[in-house]
C-alpha cells in the first residue's frame, strides 16, 4: 500500500469518526442528519478499502438513498414550521450519562481488541504477504456473494424479504391517518 493510498485511508477514517461525533453533538437535529449522511459516505469508503465493493454500493443506495431520506423527511415533518428543526437543549445529566456510557463501551472494546491484538497481528502479517496477490486476483467477488445468497444463505435471504414486506406494510398502517 503506497503513501497516497495510506493518506486517503487515514483521511477517510478521521472524516468518518468526526462526522459520527457531530451526529452525537450537533445542537440541531437537522445538522445531525446531514452529519449522519457524511458518516454513511465514510463507512461506504471504508467498505471499499475492505474490498467489499458491492457492499459499498448497497450502503450508498440503501443508507444514503433510503434511510437518510426517511430520516430527513421525519425531521422536517415532525418539527414546527415556524422555527428551524431543533430540539430542546439536553440536560447535563443526560449528556454526562451518555458520555460515561460511550466512554465505557469504547474502553471495553479497545481493551478487548488489545487482548486479542497478538493473534490478530499475526494474522494481519500473514495476510499482508497474501494480500498483494489477492488484490490483483480477487475478481468475481460479487458472483461469490450471489452464490452464497442463493445457496448457503437462501433461507435467511427469503426470511429477510418477508421481514421487509411485513415492516413496510406495518409502517404504512402505523403512519396512516385515522379516517374514522
Amino acid at each position: 500500500m503506497d503513501t497516497a493510498a495510506s493518506l486517503v485511508f487515514w483521511i477517510t477514517i478521521l472524516f468518518t469518526a468526526a462526522s459520527a461525533v457531530l451526529v452525537g453533538t450537533a445542537r440541531k437535529i437537522l445538522h445531525a442528519a446531514f452529519a449522519l449522511c457524511l458518516c454513511f459516505l465514510g463507512v461506504a469508503a471504508i467498505y471499499v478499502f475492505l474490498h467489499a465493493d458491492f457492499l459499498a454500493a448497497v450502503q450508498l443506495i440503501v443508507y444514503v438513498g433510503g434511510i437518510l431520506v426517511l430520516i430527513l423527511f421525519a425531521v422536517m415533518f415532525s418539527s414546527h414550521s415556524q422555527e428551524t428543526p431543533g430540539e430542546t437543549p439536553r440536560g447535563a445529566f443526560a449528556l454526562g450519562a451518555g458520555a460515561l456510557a460511550g466512554a465505557a463501551v469504547f474502553l471495553a472494546f479497545v481493551l478487548l481488541v488489545g487482548r486479542l491484538s497478538p493473534p490478530l497481528e499475526g494474522q494481519s502479517a500473514a495476510y499482508a504477504a497474501e494480500a498483494y496477490r489477492h488484490t490483483v486476483s480477487v475478481t468475481g467477488k460479487e458472483e461469490g456473494l450471489g452464490h452464497l445468497l442463493m445457496g448457503e444463505y437462501l433461507l435467511p435471504f427469503e426470511v429477510a424479504s418477508i421481514v421487509i414486506l411485513a415492516a413496510l406494510l406495518g409502517a404504512v398502517v402505523i403512519a396512516r391517518k385515522e379516517t374514522r
Binding site: 449522519l36 440503501v62 430520516i71 430542546t88 421481514v163 413496510l168 409502517a171 402505523i174
Partner: protein
C-alpha cells in the same frame, strides 16, 4: 506493549485489522452516547444507525482478514436490510406519535406510566 495493550495502533493503515476494529468501536460508542443523551426520537434513531454501521464494519473487516471469505459480507447485507426495515417502522411510529401529540420529545411521552 503500547497503549492499552495494542502495540502501536497507528502502524496499521488499510492493511491492519486493528484499525478497523478501533474505528468500529468508536462508532459504536458514539452511537451509544447519542442514544442515551438525545431527547428527540429521530436523534435516538440516528444513534441506532451508527451502532448498526459499526457492527457492519466489524463483520466486513473480520471477513476480509480471515482469508477473504464472503460470509461476513452476507451478514453485513442482512444488517443493512434489517436496519432499513427498522428505520421504516420506527419513523412511522415517530410520525404517529407526532400526529397525536405534536411533539416527539421522548421525555414527555409517558402516558403508559401514569
Amino acid at each position: 506493549m503500547g497503549v492499552l495493550g495494542i502495540s502501536n495502533p497507528f502502524a496499521g493503515g488499510p492493511d491492519n485489522l486493528l484499525t478497523y476494529l478501533v474505528l468500529a468501536a468508536f462508532l459504536f460508542a458514539v452511537g451509544v452516547f447519542t442514544v442515551i443523551s438525545r431527547r428527540n426520537a429521530v436523534g435516538i434513531l440516528m444513534g441506532l444507525e451508527l451502532i448498526l454501521n459499526a457492527a457492519g464494519v466489524n463483520f466486513v473487516a473480520f471477513a476480509r482478514f480471515h482469508g477473504h471469505q464472503l460470509d461476513g459480507q452476507v451478514f453485513a447485507l442482512f444488517i443493512i436490510v434489517l436496519a432499513a426495515a427498522e428505520a421504516a417502522v420506527a419513523l412511522a411510529l415517530v410520525l404517529a406519535v407526532f400526529q397525536t401529540r405534536q411533539d416527539i420529545e421522548m421525555q414527555t411521552v409517558d402516558e403508559l406510566k401514569r
